[in-house]
């Protein structure tokens, strides 16, 4: 059930036509490291959009309400608030530097019995915090071995189940996903379920382990599925089936023959995220050259789009892009060797209810909407 790679029909499925809406951020060629966006997240209603950057700043955008005198401004996101959330710290005792980079932003539900949040700053532990108790937390997962020499994997991502507050998943650098039920034991070192797809021995390489490391895990809104992102693909898992994913979509399979170069320039360590649309019928993830990919799970169509300043006229339609993996390059195709690996889209977000997407391209935030919106 592998998804087809490459270009597809000129929409993300469901007859969508994506158009440019807005772009935020400086146009400068020289991007300051601090300005690189490191996380993007819509609020639960979609009216607010938050970004965090490597400099520790958070910017919150708010969607404009409908305004008859300015009909086209409806749906525009404008800055609502910005603040410095984290500062760099230095622990002199341990000679340890704490980066101010914002790794994740999560909106808390406005009305929810859940008053907990997960923190996974550490590669080896997951702690559970009660919002009203800030001086201590519960440790629910700890994979630190007694002897660090025996360390073979680290935690790479974790998430609560959207509906069952006692269920969480965490992914590992080995490509496995563990589902834990906090009701069954206080310390969730032993998983309730282990999701792992056997590797393909025929495609084994030096880098097989790196590219199988899961960089992101997201539950579907329904709570029935979860999606994992590894370096070359996104996989959709049915929580009821641990043996293999129900869907595998190739994001940029043409990179498989370039893994050595990507290892050399560190791109192979890039942690791409992925996201679901509101109805769980489509998924989106980023790639290089400021490309991002959408996969329609119903029609099985996929499309590659680009976030670029060149194509940023208001309501300009996005043209599907194609990458030529080899052989004769057709017109409008981009060859693999001319991809700009410094332009990577790691963070994307999809409005929970509408076809509005936010795509972070280094220090710029692009907002695209479906024409019908």
């Amino acid at each position: 059930m592998a998804g087809a790679g490459g270009g597809g029909c000129p929409s993300g499925g469901n007859d969508l036509q994506w158009c440019f809406s807005q772009v935020k951020g400086a146009v400068d060629e020289d991007v300051a490291e601090a300005d690189v966006i490191s996380t993007v997240e819509f609020s639960h209603s979609g009216d607010l959009l938050a970004t965090g950057d490597k400099g520790g700043r958070v910017v919150i955008f708010q969607r404009e309400q409908e305004n008859k005198s300015r009909p086209h401004s409806r749906g525009e996101y404008n800055v609502y608030s910005t603040f410095q959330s984290h500062e760099p710290e230095f622990d002199y005792l341990k000679s340890l530097e704490i980066e101010e980079k914002i790794n994740k932003i999560r909106w808390l539900p406005r009305q929810s019995a859940a008053r907990f949040l997960l923190s996974t700053n550490d590669d080896l532990r997951i702690n559970l915090w009660h919002l009203e108790i800030t001086d201590r937390s519960f440790n629910i997962v700890d994979i630190k071995p007694a002897n660090m020499e025996e360390l073979t994997e680290v935690i790479t991502a974790a998430e609560f189940h959207p509906h069952q507050c006692n269920v969480l998943v965490y992914s590992s650098s080995k490509g496995t996903i563990r589902l834990c039920d906090m009701r069954s034991s206080a310390l969730c070192d032993r998983h309730s379920k282990l999701f792992e797809e056997p590797g393909d021995p025929s495609s084994r390489s030096f880098f097989s382990e790196i590219i199988s490391s899961v960089s992101d895990v997201k539950f579907s809104h329904s709570g029935r599925y979860m999606m994992t992102r590894d370096y070359l693909s996104v996989k959709v898992w049915d929580l009821n089936m641990e043996s293999r994913p129900v869907e595998t979509h190739q994001v940029h399979e043409y990179l498989r023959s370039k893994l050595c170069s990507l290892y050399e320039n560190d791109c192979i360590f890039d942690k791409f995220e992925c996201c679901w649309n509101g109805s769980d019928s489509a998924i989106m993830t980023g790639s290089y050259n400021n490309f991002f990919r959408m996969f329609d799970r119903t029609t099985w169509r996929d499309v590659t789009l680009e976030a670029s300043r060149e194509n940023s006229k208001p309501r300009a339609s996005l043209k599907p892009r194609r990458v030529c993996a080899g052989g004769k390059r057709k017109k409008d195709e981009v060859s693999v060797d001319s991809l700009d690996f410094s332009k990577k889209i790691l963070h994307t977000a999809w409005h929970p209810a509408e076809n509005i997407i936010a795509v972070a391209a280094t220090n710029n935030l692009y907002i695209f909407q479906d024409k019908a919106n």
Binding site: L151, S205, E209
Partner: protein, 321 residues
């Protein structure tokens, strides 16, 4: 052969990454270093399982491909990815001379050899066997601490130090202030390592390795501070009295991690010195004790566990990064 070339390149790149991770802002990233160590292990396994063991000691450019040395059994085709090298690979290494002579060193590529991996040393040099065996042993330790490439690279020591060469060696902070002409191998407080998420225990002393190795048999010397742009491996070599000065000087410029075969051969010859010499000043006692059995059982270097522990400096050199 292509596998071997690629493996060689990947090992070089990996070592460079581990080294650079020590000086980058934010400290050593556990996840990334873990992945790099896995790649290092895979590449090393392929490297070892290649049926051209002579390639280790990359020789002069233009040297013909190595024909099998007399008495050397033919190793099978490269083992599958991720599989341990077949026993034949170990057996392929000829018995090293118990007393390795300096002339073995000339096998080391001269200055200007940028990719000696492409060539192999001339066959028939019986001393080469010793080098090969020592190099093989050196590589063995890459396997051992593959996780501790991470652990040594700054993960809070879980209490044990895989590179411990003995109870005394463990847990002493690695010291490597530049220009510190320490005559002994006693580790110093690390003044120049990048911040690490170290726990309350003293940091593992992996970067003591170059210095220790130097102290073991070649007169000791300052540990190399991994200042950006330099490579710790220079120091022990510089202090090595085993190596002809010419090769040593020429080698320095090659010591960028891009030339791993050089490193192996250099370490190899120094290990041969290790085998022969009694411990140098300040050298860990444990090492001194173990050099005996190692020298006594050269043929088993690649498989002997005590030997693996014994030849720590190589592994700590890697982890030092």
């Amino acid at each position: 052969m292509e596998f071997k070339l690629e493996a060689h390149r990947i090992v070089s790149i990996s070592l460079g990454k581990i080294y650079n991770s020590r000086v980058q802002r934010g400290g050593i990233k556990l996840h990334k270093n873990l992945l790099v160590s896995l790649v290092l292990r895979s590449a090393r396994q392929v490297y070892l399982s290649d049926p051209c063991p002579g390639l280790y000691l990359a020789g002069h450019p233009g040297t013909p491909a190595l024909p099998q040395q007399p008495g050397e059994s033919v190793a099978g085709p490269p083992a599958g990815w991720g599989e341990p090298p077949p026993p034949a690979a170990c057996a392929a290494w000829p018995e090293p001379e118990p007393q390795l002579e300096l002339p073995a060193v000339p096998e080391v590529p001269r200055a200007g050899d940028t990719e000696p991996a492409a060539t192999v040393t001339g066959a028939g040099d019986t001393l080469q066997g010793g080098e090969a065996a020592a190099a093989e042993a050196a590589w063995r330790r890459v396997e051992g601490p593959r996780e501790t490439a991470v652990g040594g690279a700054g993960v809070p020591a879980g209490g044990s130090d895989v590179f411990s060469q003995g109870p005394g060696a463990a847990r002493r902070p690695c010291g490597c202030p530049p220009g510190d002409e320490d005559k002994s191998a006693s580790p110093r407080v690390d003044g120049c390592r990048a911040p690490r998420p170290a726990g309350p225990e003293p940091p593992v002393p992996p970067s003591v390795c170059p210095r220790k190795r130097g102290a073991e048999g070649v007169g000791g010397g300052p540990a190399d501070c991994p200042a950006p742009g330099s490579t710790p491996l220079k120091k022990p070599r510089r202090n090595s009295e085993e190596q002809p000065g010419g090769a040593a000087a020429e080698e320095e410029e090659e010591m960028e991690t891009g030339n791993v075969a050089n490193l192996i051969s250099i370490f190899g010859s120094s290990f041969s010195g290790l085998l022969r010499k009694s411990p140098g000043g300040g050298r860990e006692e444990a090492e001194g004790e173990k050099s005996g059995p190692e020298a006594a059982e050269p043929g088993q270097i690649c498989c002997d566990k005590p030997v693996l522990r014994d030849i720590n400096p190589w592994s700590t050199a890697i982890v030092a990064f």
